[in-house]
Structures are given as structure tokens and as C-alpha cells.
Symmetry: C2
Subunit: 193 residues, 2 copies
């Protein structure tokens, strides 16, 4: 149980000094989430700003017909939270579930604000995290409305092949915005090339 990975992560952003990183890291608490358990459940207020050290998670919501839709995928080395719920203190519409046994470090909303207040460097880090998440979502949005399902599949396969080891094809299909039937067919066509 050491926080080296988190410290390295903070330092690699080039936004926080070593001494600041150490002070930040001191606040984080250890967390273990066994496979299939939830880090966050829809209806609750997201209150943990989590750094995922080991394992994989997915986020999912429900569409207007009540079907489960995978909205995101979390790999080790990422900050994980439901932004809107966490910062607005509102009930989350999303669930965050462990796909494998997971391990990480978290602080509460209270602790985060305390750190934001006392450490400008951590504020910078927090902003960087938000901006990064925002940009990635924007890229995904552009791909989604401009490319075909097959192109989106190819793109995912190229940029994030690891997903296919962790998440069922059904979940990947809903993440891509298609049915599992279509994904299966696309994979068949794709493997011929």
C-alpha cells in the first residue's frame, strides 16, 4: 500500500512540484472495489475523486427506453468521477462499475475543496483533469457523428485495443452506439480485411 503511482501521475502533469505532490497525496485514502461492484450508483451523489491504480471500470447510464448504455471506460492511471454530480452535488444519472478487481486512491469533495483552497498547484491539476475529459469527449462526439459504425469500431480497436479484453461485446456495442448484432457483423467483415 504505497502511493507512488499517484505521486508520479501528479508529477508527470508538470503542474505540481514534488513537495506539493507529497502534500496532496497525503490526503488520499485507499480504496478497493471487487469485480462487478459499484464505485457509484445512479441516484447517489458522487463524493469520491478517485485515482484508479489497478483494474478497469465502465460507466453506464440508461436511455429513454430503460436500456443500459455504456458511456465510458476507465483504465488504470485515470481520475474517475461523475463530474456533474460531484461538483454540483446532484444525484448522478450514471453508474460506475468495476469490470475487474480494482484498487485506487480517493479524496472526498470536502477534502478536494480544502486542497483547492490551500494549494494552487492542485487547482491547476484539477482544471487540467476537467479540460482533458472535456476534450476527449468532444473528440468522441465528432467521431460519432461523422464516422460509420465500422470506422468507429476500427478507431476504438486501434486506440484502445485493451477494452476488448475487459468489456463484453455487448457493452462495447452500446458504447459505439450500435446493437451487439451489428457489432458482431462488423467484426466479421472487418476480420476479412
Amino acid at each position: 500500500m504505497d502511493k507512488e503511482t499517484l505521486t508520479t501521475f501528479l508529477l508527470n502533469t508538470n503542474l505540481v512540484s514534488l513537495s506539493a505532490a507529497q502534500e496532496i497525496v497525503r490526503q488520499f485514502n485507499h480504496k478497493i472495489i471487487p469485480k462487478n461492484q459499484f464505485h457509484l450508483t445512479a441516484g447517489k451523489i458522487s463524493d469520491q475523486y478517485l485515482f484508479l491504480e489497478k483494474g478497469y471500470m465502465r460507466t453506464f447510464a440508461h436511455d429513454t427506453e430503460g436500456n443500459e448504455v455504456t458511456t465510458g471506460f476507465c483504465s488504470p492511471g485515470q481520475i474517475i468521477l461523475e463530474v456533474s454530480s460531484f461538483f454540483n452535488r446532484t444525484r448522478s444519472k450514471e453508474n460506475i462499475q468495476a469490470l475487474t478487481d480494482c484498487e485506487g486512491w480517493y479524496i472526498t469533495y470536502e477534502q478536494l475543496n480544502q486542497l483547492f483552497h490551500t494549494l494552487p498547484e492542485f487547482r491547476e491539476f484539477g482544471r487540467w483533469t476537467l479540460v482533458k475529459g472535456f476534450s476527449e469527449l468532444k473528440n468522441r462526439m465528432l467521431l460519432t457523428i461523422t464516422e460509420t459504425a465500422e470506422e468507429r469500431y476500427a478507431h476504438l480497436l486501434k486506440t484502445n485495443p485493451g477494452i476488448f479484453q475487459q468489456m463484453s461485446l455487448k457493452n462495447i456495442a452500446s458504447y459505439l452506439g450500435i446493437t451487439d448484432t451489428s457489432l458482431s457483423r462488423i467484426r466479421k467483415e472487418f476480420s476479412k480485411k
Copy 2:
């Protein structure tokens, strides 16, 4: 040329006091953007944190084949910037163009950071802005991958009918992720109901 709308906007968030709002507003500079002119051009670094007081704008990017894709729509009373470019000081991939004669108030990146540094209340406001943009994009993403083009059209018509007065159907089509031909057909079907 007065900044009342901006002041009201700040106060309505319930995040800034009147005295803080007045101090913030003092920093903003007036800006006029005639119809069809660009507020931001792809390749440039977004350096204006703009409050749009009058007029409408759209943001657009280019897909992998080089086609123009409308990625967003800006109405009066919104903060307008290319988040990633502005905060990371990187070249924007997006353009922001006036659809009508526009008028607003802006501060530079430099000024924004100065205000963030001296006024915690403005930091709160800045965070609120980012979180709001993020949540809206997430909602749009969920709609995009779960609903049909017709449902997305109906949704847009319901939540933002004003767009249809400002933006061409071709631009609205690319915003919805379909061709103008399909949108035309969808509108025809839709008007029968």
C-alpha cells in the same frame, strides 16, 4: 454599452456576490463580431473568454474527409470559448463563427488567470462554466448514440427551436450527424404527424 447583462448573469449563478461581480465585470472588454466573421479560426490559440450578449454563433470543425461539421451552437447569455485551446494554450481545431451580428464582452487568458488568482468567487464561476459545458456535452452524446436521427431532430426542435431561425438546415444536419438530404426527408415525415 453597459455590462448589466453580464453582471446579472454572474449574480444568477449564486456563486458571486454583487461586489465581486462588479469587480469581475470591470475587467471585461467590449467586442463586436459582424455576421459571418470569425471569433476564432482553426489553427489559432483561443485567447478570449467571451460572454455573448447579443447574436448567435456556431462552432464547426472538419472531419477526416475535410467536410465541415457543425459541432455547436451559441445563444446569447452563454460563455463562449474553445476550452481545450484556451486552457492548454494549443492550436484550436475548431472555428467559431457569427451567424448574425454579435456583441459581447471578453477577457484574455492572462486576465482570467489574474481574476482566478485574486477572486475565489470567480474561480467558482469558472468551474461552474466548465462543469456545465461538460454535462451538456455528455447529455448530447447519450442522445446521439441511443436515439434515431428523427428522435434527435424532434429533441432539438423541442429544446432549441430558435436554432432553426439562425442556422441553415445543412448546418443543423451536420450537427445532428446526418446529411441534409436525410434531414429534409425527416422534416417531411415529421410534419405529417
